[in-house]
Symmetry: D2
Subunit: 147 residues, 4 copies
């Protein structure tokens, strides 16, 4: 049974955050984890690219009622029709969450995941009391996989 | 881009309905479709078994906050935490829906799918005005894939 | 503690269905029930008008992220942002459901309500095996309130 | 048309936070606002008590499929069956949000509300970059009502 890890982050991300996200996706795929994400652009697309480039499986949970706007690196693209409420689905489906970058959507995912008792690793993201931060993609992935 | 087809049906199903469901799953996989389902037992498990047995990809959208109870034939098992509301997700994620057998959950999926404009094929299921019925798994899959 | 009764029906309804819906809303309010509905036009608006005209309390659960399009007879108008998935909310919040008229959305509410074990009374609506039908607004309301 | 204001906060709250919440509820009711909340105990119950004590209208959006556990000060108690995802509903239904106290659920509501563009006022709550904080219930309510 694979571990499911959500990678969360904003569509509007800097070059360094995109580099981190792609590395996280690649490392998760190399370790056999299923990547769950919001399926659109920015951090999510970079993580998807990293994971599928390494032969991994990526699930994108899209906000709309169609797959329009899905990034091209998803193994499975699921239209949810729930709008921003799909953020809750992303972290519910995950055993652990890696959050990259700022953005209110990302903070909502961090908070929901902690509310549900999921482990959350923060990489260049919000500074929030009680959020576990990590310094590198390697550390994020190792901790997410509990190794 | 694959076509996404939901296979809907009750946990409590007869032997013939399970046979139909497994055949539908197999045919969908052979035609390259992604199967979306509720991820538990009965019709859903039979369709999952048929699809993964033929090398296909099966997504199960589970009602609980954990993957507990997922059938063993899913490629991807997603905990939604939405309870019965996850039925809406199953049909929203699909381009077409194949409904097998009775059950109020199945009827809710038929109705939601039609409300969203998805094509629905009924195989030994509810008799409802405006629902397109088919006689065989082959006919269901051909029509679901628009061929 | 009041009883919560959902009144479900299509936006596009005939004059007779609107008359039935308004009577149902009025009778529910006179009996002290809280009316829950989708908050838009047609059957829903007629039921809302009947209920608030009789001094009752009406809750509308709207599909969008704003209260735009709400009918003017709601005591409380709640934007859900869930699209059609809000149909599940309407029946989950209710102790019993009165369905009036055809429409796939209405059928989805009938089926979900039965799936959740809510009592459903059908008034000039879908003919579905296992659905309890009634002949008049009085009968619908009496049965919904379990009297 | 009244303004809808969500009051968010944890079930486990200190005496001072409960006092703040009750004052917020009372002031909102005196100004004619509809209070939206999670419907359970702690901050939510205190706000509900303050609002209904002042003749206001309070809507509680409960996580379960029944009204069990609802606090006794709600005008309308709605079972959603969505679990923690109902937090998204609370802030979607509101024009502005007042957050009191710590708790991951509260942070998820702050973040979702900001993501949706709702104004959020923080009163003795999380310190998060970009969150507007206020010092008193009066200030919270005045700003929430845009006056």
């Amino acid at each position: 049974m694979p571990t499911y890890v959500a990678v969360c982050g904003a569509s509007a991300a800097g070059a360094e955050q995109l580099r981190l996200a792609e590395a996280v996706g690649r490392l998760l795929a190399e370790r056999g984890a299923v990547v769950v994400c919001g399926g659109l652009g920015g951090v999510t697309e970079a993580a998807s690219k990293g994971a599928t480039g390494a032969g991994g499986l990526v699930v994108g949970l899209l906000p709309g009622e169609s797959r329009e706007g899905a990034n091209p690196y998803l193994t499975v693209a699921l239209a949810t029709g729930l709008g921003q409420a799909r953020n809750v689905l992303i972290v519910t489906a995950a055993d652990a969450v890696i959050a990259i970058g700022q953005g209110w959507g990302t903070l909502s995912e961090i908070a929901f995941a902690r509310r549900l008792g999921r482990r959350v690793l923060g990489l260049d993201t919000w500074r929030v009391e009680g959020l576990e931060t990590v310094a590198t993609p390697d550390e994020a992935v190792e901790k997410a996989l509990g190794t």
